[in-house]
């Protein structure tokens, strides 16, 4: 039976080719859809069919009816508009600009954090968070920075009360995680940190850091170099070189400052890298045994490394931004550039 329906449809398509005037179209409509039209004839066939096939056939005919209606209506519309010859008063200008929707943007610092998270996620690091208002213990003692120690000078800090402060580094999260989780640990912790620095082009009393920590059996300084090298190549580019310099952080031993070859001048020397060819981008080191002691880890069994980087600094380097204050002014003309 459906062959018959197909045939009806083919015939119609042939006949539409002969339509020239509106009258032609109207006649075709009567021929197919009129009371004595072809479609109604098909309907009349239904009662003659076996019961189980009636419903399906009825549905098919109904679909055909809709289809035919659409086709003929389309022709009626077409010939009616063509029939009245229009005087061309206006010309459609295909070159007018499109109506562009506004493009929103993530803050450039969020973009950097997202990029860093993505690189480390591929290396198996989970993202964790910790409080910004912290107990002094997590910011200092547990990180092997005793009170009245000269290294505290490097960590001037906003206090709320005697033993409560605004964290001056995201390393606090290391302790909080290790306190409640046993190795292996592989985390990064992005977040806001605070230091009472007078605001200028390079300093802000609030900025962002991303902390990283990996603890397991048999983790070495060579692995630290391996992971950081992966990060640097993925984030900054395959041709970027990495250099480590000995440094001092109370919570790591050995400690290192990590430099990358200056991407602006390619290592030849320019104002961005102070003509050294290298720019400092993060601090890192092997977790100090005293830190493991604070969280009751067996420092003989487990070793690990930690690293921390300033998000503003990396973003400034990447885009050539020279004033940190731009990040917090939120001028739309600034934000729209990223």
């Amino acid at each position: 039976m459906s062959d018959k329906l197909e045939e009806v449809k083919r015939n119609l398509q042939d006949e539409t080719k002969t339509i020239i005037t509106r009258k032609d179209a109207e006649q075709l409509k009567i021929k197919y859809l009129g009371r004595k039209g072809i479609v109604n004839d098909l309907m009349k066939l239904i009662p003659a069919l076996p019961t189980e096939k009636r419903a399906a056939f009825g549905q098919q005919v109904n679909f055909l009816k809709i289809e035919i209606t659409d086709i003929i209506e389309e022709f009626i519309k077409r010939v009616s508009s063509e029939a009245i010859p229009k005087v061309k008063t206006e010309i459609f200008d295909i070159t007018l600009p499109g109506k562009r929707p506004l493009i929103g943007k993530k803050h450039p610092l969020t973009q950097t954090i997202d990029d860093i998270k993505e690189v480390f996620a591929r290396l198996g690091f989970d993202v964790v968070y910790g409080p910004e208002v912290e107990l002094e213990y997590y910011n200092f003692e547990a990180l092997n920075i005793p009170s009245d120690h000269p290294s505290r000078t490097d960590f001037d800090t906003f206090y709320i009360r005697d033993d409560v402060l605004l964290r001056s580094q995201t390393s606090t999260v290391q302790i909080r995680i290790m306190e409640r989780q046993k190795p292996p640990i592989r985390i990064i912790a992005p977040g806001r940190v605070y230091r009472p620095d007078t605001v200028d082009a390079r300093h802000s009393f609030m900025f962002h850091q991303v902390e990283g920590l990996l603890v397991d059996e048999g983790v070495s300084f060579a692995d630290l170099k391996g992971v950081l090298n992966q990060f640097i190549k993925t984030y900054f580019g395959q041709n970027i070189q990495m250099r480590l310099r000995p440094s001092f952080f109370p919570f790591t031993e050995p400690s290192a400052e990590v430099d990358i070859s200056c991407s602006i001048c390619g290592g030849k020397g320019c104002s961005v890298c102070s003509y050294s060819g290298w720019v400092e981008i993060l601090g890192a080191g092997m977790v100090d045994p005293n830190v493991f002691k604070a969280v009751h880890y067996d420092a003989e069994k487990y070793t690990g490394f930690a690293f921390g980087m300033g998000v503003e600094r990396i973003t400034m380097l990447k885009y050539g931004i020279s004033d940190i204050r731009l990040f917090y002014e939120n001028d739309m003309r600034f934000l729209s550039q990223f």
Partner: protein, 666 residues
């Protein structure tokens, strides 16, 4: 720490240019921040980390150079020739606080001639930024810069009762320091006193009354060790820091005191003449030598590279460690007294790595493979950010520390006040914020003043609410958008759908005149819990645009979000639509109409969609016409028109009975 290139070369043989030297020092951890030519010399500004006080003297730097580069070391002359009268004839020294002052030595030099110091000395001091004063003061500075050991010279004749007592300050005592600062002293501070009064703040600064002047004939030269924390506490409490306190805080070489003292009197004798008293007042606590064992296996394990034992021993010897025992897998050694930072095996491992060269350690990736999953916080934040930026919103970041103005004091989430910072930099930044909206309002103003009139911004950040030990840090999403009320409300509602949150919101009248326009604000409630605040921006805020504000508790959204999806069969039977328009009192909110309809619990009623509110000529005053659309559907059959009409009538009846609506012809 600034050093002179020529001065350094006196102690270590090197044939490197200042730049080459700087590079080599940087590679072992002494970062050379700057090199400045000074006449025929160079001044190198070295960043010395707080663990390396031994490098706060040029000899210490020379040792590092020798270890890193090679080259032999030469130490300066210290022989003292003549000895005259017994020192005890001139002064009596006692130390009452041996813990805070573990070692105190002194010498007396009489019949000196105070004059300018020799030109060569002045030149070197000037090169590293010190101002020459006179031959006595210059020698103490010179020796401090050379050895890292601070010294202080008193005018012997001005010390009352020929006494020096190292004791704690007494209540009511005060001192005028050499720099002219007058300070009241507290009883926990350590002072050097004569028979009557404090004459120096121990390790921090000497007093003006006993300082060496042009008329000084006899001096008392102090060379001591003061406890690090004590010096730091006192220095910070008094707000006085000096080259001396800087070194004592970090720790001096206890074995270097005698050398520095002898070196200083030798130079004084050379520059100012005089008679050196025989004997040294030397009150001392014994220092123990530190013995440490380095396990070769541990060295390998921590660094991830097999450094040969000979290489390790060579490095440790260059660092002047005394190798005691050298068997197979262990190296027992004694650490030199000037390396107070080395007390554990790990410290030795760092030393070996440092001189071996961090860049000579291989770059390995032997850590195992591990998958990581995004946590719910990240997923929700990412979803919201993507949704909003897709609608043209900009994300902003504003400071968590704000001022205490009435606007910034808005606290939507707690009855308690904000948390103040005890040591703010400026009053403008002295409190942790309790809402993000004031900062968004300020951002809008900033952009208005810089020519951007239309703005759609959001921030995801914390607010800080008074808690127990630590505050409650609540994650919030705040939006400021130059749109009408229903547009931003719709964006919020869609974002809930986008997070898979199915709970219905209740919108309850709310007032916060600092933020919202009167009668156009709501507290948003979900499952009986407040989740946010929303409304048109107050006209008092001075915006030229119609703007709306929203602040939502992101923690609740994170908790209620649901990203688990399950396929639902598509409806098999057609939906029947009916439009209705009803005239109601102005006071009747849409939510009552909607509730009245859904309360009829008609099984086939799938959706109620508001589409229009109309007030005008055909509608009596005090009334409004509300138009909406009703969708009916059955899961198992096609609904007949007549049965939908019956349901519709039931709805109309209910609306008329409960809300007294009047049906409007559509």
């Amino acid at each position: 720490m600034k050093i002179s290139y020529n001065w350094l070369k006196e102690y270590v043989d090197i044939c490197l240019s200042p730049q080459e030297l700087a590079d080599r020092l940087t590679n072992v951890g002494l970062v050379v921040a700057d090199i400045q030519p000074v006449e025929d010399d160079f001044c190198l500004d070295i960043e010395v980390t707080s663990n390396r006080p031994d490098c706060l003297g040029i000899i210490g730097v020379a040792r590092e150079v020798a270890a890193a580069v090679g080259g032999s070391l030469h130490f300066p002359e210290t022989n003292v020739v003549s000895a005259h009268a017994d020192i005890f004839k001139f002064i009596n020294v006692s130390v009452e606080e041996p813990i805070l002052c573990p070692r105190y030595t002194a010498k007396v030099v009489r019949h000196i001639t105070v004059a300018p110091s020799p030109e060569w000395m002045q030149k070197r001091l000037t090169c590293i930024g010190l101002r020459p004063v006179n031959n006595i003061v210059d020698v103490t500075n010179y020796v401090m810069m050379e050895t890292g050991q601070p010294l202080h010279a008193f005018d012997l004749d001005r010390l009352a009762e020929q006494k020096i007592i190292v004791r704690k300050a007494r209540i009511g005592e005060e001192i005028v320091a050499i720099n002219g600062a007058r300070r009241a002293l507290f009883h926990d501070m350590l002072v050097i006193a004569d028979g009557r009064r404090p004459v120096a703040i121990a390790g921090v600064m000497g007093g003006a009354e006993t300082e060496v002047s042009n008329s000084t004939r006899n001096i008392f030269l102090e060379c001591a060790e003061f406890e690090q924390r004590q010096v730091r506490r006192t220095s910070r409490a008094l707000g006085i820091s000096s080259d001396s306190s800087y070194r004592f805080e970090r720790g001096i070489d206890p074995e270097g005191i005698d050398h520095a003292s002898q070196r200083a009197v030798w130079l004084i004798n050379d520059c100012a003449g005089g008679e050196i008293s025989g004997g040294t007042i030397n009150i001392s606590e014994r220092h123990e030598t530190r013995k440490i064992t380095l396990r070769m296996e541990r060295l390998h394990k921590v660094l991830g590279v097999e450094i040969k034992r000979d290489v390790a021993i060579d490095i440790l010897k260059k660092l002047q460690c005394n190798i005691l025992n050298n068997v197979d897998k262990f190296i027992d050694l004694e650490v030199p007294s000037f390396r107070g930072d080395i007390s554990r095996e790990i410290d030795l491992i760092e030393e070996v790595a440092r001189i071996y060269g961090y860049n000579n350690i291989p770059t390995k990736t032997s850590i195992d493979v591990r998958g990581s999953t995004k946590n719910k916080v990240e997923i929700v934040e990412d979803t919201i950010r993507q949704f909003l930026i897709g609608l043209g919103f900009y994300e902003v970041k504003t400071f968590s520390i704000v001022d205490t103005s009435p606007l910034q004091s808005v606290n939507l989430w707690s009855d308690k006040g904000g948390i103040d910072i005890a040591n703010p930099l400026r009053q403008e930044e002295s409190r942790l914020r309790t809402s993000l909206l004031p900062s968004l309002i300020n951002t809008k103003r900033y952009n208005m003043h810089h020519g951007t009139e239309q703005i759609k911004i959001f921030e995801i950040a914390k607010v800080y609410l008074a808690g127990n030990k630590l505050p409650h840090e609540k994650n919030c999403l705040s939006i400021l958008a130059d749109t009408d009320y229903l547009t931003l409300k719709g964006i919020f509602e869609s974002s809930l759908v986008n997070l898979g949150i199915l709970s219905e919101c209740e919108w309850i009248t709310f007032s916060e005149p600092r933020l919202f326009r009167d009668e156009r604000a709501a507290r948003i409630q979900m499952d009986g819990m407040t989740v946010g605040y929303f409304g048109e921006a107050s006209q008092e805020l001075g915006f030229k645009t119609l703007s709306c504000l929203l602040e939502v508790d992101l923690d609740v959204l994170i908790e209620k979000s649901n990203f688990i999806k399950k396929y639902q069969n598509l409806p098999q039977y057609p939906t029947v639509y009916r439009d209705l328009a009803v005239i109601v009192n102005e006071e009747t909110p849409w939510s009552s109409i909607e509730k009245c309809i859904t309360d009829t619990k008609i099984a086939f009623l799938k959706e109620v969609n508001f589409f229009d509110v109309y007030r005008g000529k055909q509608i009596p005053a005090g009334k409004k016409s509300i138009a909406f659309n009703l969708c009916f559907q059955s899961p198992d059959r096609t609904l007949r028109s007549e049965e939908v009409d019956i349901e519709l009538q039931a709805i109309v009846d209910s609306l008329q009975r409960i809300l007294n609506v009047e049906l409007r012809k559509t």
